[in-house]
């Protein structure tokens, strides 16, 4: 049968790709532009990147983001993996309801998650800061880790585990020696996604961060609102490159065969 694609479809798709990518490309190019105000190209410079290093708020924001990201990723990766194991390997009462419950955070608008957590923390008189941001990030990351790890578990060969048990290993030994190494790429892939989301989150964080504990997105948001100097382009470019690398790694590991 004829599989040739009509010309108009190719042209149209090219335009859609342009729409998806051109704004980012332009943003990156102008992070190297010499002029402060003009959008015309006046020459190449690293000045805006150097300027970033002088800004205390950005460096502190980056530090806060890395701390929150590392802590929330660690906890949500462990909790999410355990839930995925229970769902893939065990039958228990209330399973369907639990699965539905686990999907709700994936579709809940960020603004709802943010304000409801703010209400909880204020009600319990928990001071807002890095701890509350971390708690919030764990809460929205767990379900994503579950989805990623569960997908890997469902494609996993269980014969190795059964062989280990037949050869006399107990559940705990089998788990550490067989299951975890096989599952490792899935766990890392889920963890990288959790870190990316934590590193990028603005909406939820803005409600539970309080004053004096700003993550990088909070700082960038303030910059976007206040001034228009090309340092924003520079920090945006750095964030873009960092997330692109993380996602590429997550994708590679997600596809890799277990060790």
């Amino acid at each position: 049968m004829s599989t040739k694609l009509p010309r108009w479809l190719i042209a149209f798709s090219a335009l859609v790709y342009l729409f998806l990518h051109l704004p980012i490309v332009v943003l990156v190019i102008f992070s190297f532009n010499d002029s402060k105000y003009a959008v015309s190209w006046t020459g190449f410079t690293w000045a805006w990147y150097q300027r970033l290093l002088e800004r205390e708020d950005i460096l502190r924001g980056l530090e806060a983001s890395l701390i929150v990201g590392a802590a929330s990723t660690l906890v949500s990766a462990v909790f999410g993996t355990l839930i995925a194991l229970a769902l893939a390997r065990h039958r228990f009462r209330g399973r369907t309801a639990l699965e539905a419950f686990l999907y709700v955070p994936l579709v809940t608008p960020e603004i709802v998650v943010g304000i409801s957590l703010l209400i909880l923390f204020v009600l319990l008189k928990v001071p807002l800061g890095l701890a509350t941001i971390t708690i919030a990030h764990i809460a929205f990351s767990i379900s994503f880790v579950v989805v990623v790890v569960l997908a890997r578990l469902q494609g996993m060969d269980r014969n190795l585990e059964e062989a280990a048990m037949t050869l006399g290993a107990d559940e705990i030994t089998t788990f550490w020696k067989i299951t975890v190494p096989q599952l490792w790429p899935g766990i890392i892939s889920g963890a990288l996604l959790a870190f990316t989301m934590s590193f990028d989150d603005y909406v939820i964080t803005s409600f539970v961060s309080g004053t004096g504990s700003s993550t990088l997105p909070i700082v960038v948001y303030t910059m976007v609102r206040r001034n228009i100097e090309p340092s924003i382009n520079a920090i945006s470019t750095i964030i873009l490159v960092a997330t692109a690398v993380l996602i590429y790694l997550a994708d590679r590991l997600g596809r890799e065969k277990g060790a």
Partner: protein
């Protein structure tokens, strides 16, 4: 018996216990820091506003009644209309793209990667990219002026147009992914059969391809509509003070306006709309032709 054996013995006799031990930490976390806060929020939405505290004891439906005020009805309507508009535009742009990717055997992976890439890049950065293009001194206006087509910058930013472009730009990948997934696994022999039976290309598309890709279309529509309903950053940064959506209304009640119960009621309305959309999707998915196996 050492401790290890005792623990294993316990789990051997109680099979449910293993599952619940694995589930406990994560599920407990979600109950305390996801479910409970939303229930408390629901409680706040039916309590009177306090003088020095966010709420005081009592029961009232006044915060929900306030939405019948034309001002708030307008915000609700705008949120709904813009989300729907963004969904339709995403469909019109995303369907042809998904079709092209599903039919280009050689470049499939690369083309798909190019769709997924922006999906994972920072939403805040992407919204800033839109500002960079659309502001008065932005690239679009500067280019048009230097070409001599206009003398004064056209106001693009802080208009409904800017918000719509931002929503489409932000959520388009969500539309392409599920449509591509349903087109990719479409059984090509059905199209061959249609061709043998004399169907022209357009008829083959309308009567075979499109109906079979409907589950993907519905899923994509939902994946765009839901985040658009609750969107905050797009209208906040691209819409300015006049183009308020319900997300901005909620944020305002928890910052400047300091009316937490009203903000809670607004949040709950968004949450309810989202849940209605999901339930509607699940029902369609289970009844559509060839739908059950599509994601």
């Amino acid at each position: 018996m050492n401790l290890r054996q005792r623990i294993l013995g316990f789990y051997h006799t109680r099979k449910d216990a293993t599952a619940w031990t694995l589930l406990a930490p994560g599920v407990l976390w979600l109950v305390v820091f996801f479910l409970a806060p939303i229930l408390i929020m629901l409680g706040y939405s039916v309590m009177p506003r306090g003088l020095f505290t966010p709420v005081k004891a009592g029961f009232t439906l006044e915060h929900y009644q306030r939405f019948f005020d034309p001002l708030y009805l307008q915000i609700l309507w705008r949120t709904f209309a813009w989300s729907l508009g963004a969904t339709v535009i995403c469909l019109l742009m995303g369907y042809p793209l998904a079709y092209l990717i599903a039919r280009s055997w050689k470049w499939r992976n690369l083309l798909m990667f190019l769709v997924v890439l922006p999906f994972w890049t920072s939403f805040l950065v992407r919204t800033f990219a839109m500002i960079f293009l659309m502001r008065d001194t932005g690239l679009i206006n500067a280019t048009l002026i230097s070409l001599g087509l206009i003398t004064e910058p056209i106001p693009l930013l802080y208009t409904p147009f800017a918000v719509m472009v931002g929503l489409v730009y932000g959520f388009l990948p969500f539309m392409v992914l599920p449509i591509y997934a349903s087109l990719e696994k479409l059984d090509l022999s059905l199209l061959e059969a249609a061709e043998v039976l004399g169907a022209r290309p357009w008829a083959r598309f309308v009567r075979v391809t499109f109906p079979l890709s409907l589950p993907g279309v519905v899923a994509g529509a939902l994946l765009v509509f839901i985040p658009a309903l609750g969107s905050f950053l797009t209208s906040d940064l691209l819409g300015g003070a006049k183009q308020v959506m319900i997300g901005n209304l909620i944020q305002n009640q928890f910052s400047a306006a300091r009316n937490w119960p009203f903000g809670s009621a607004a949040s709950f309305i968004v949450m309810a709309l989202v849940l209605v959309a999901v339930v509607w999707y699940l029902r369609i998915r289970d009844t559509a032709p060839g739908g059950a196996e599509a994601k």
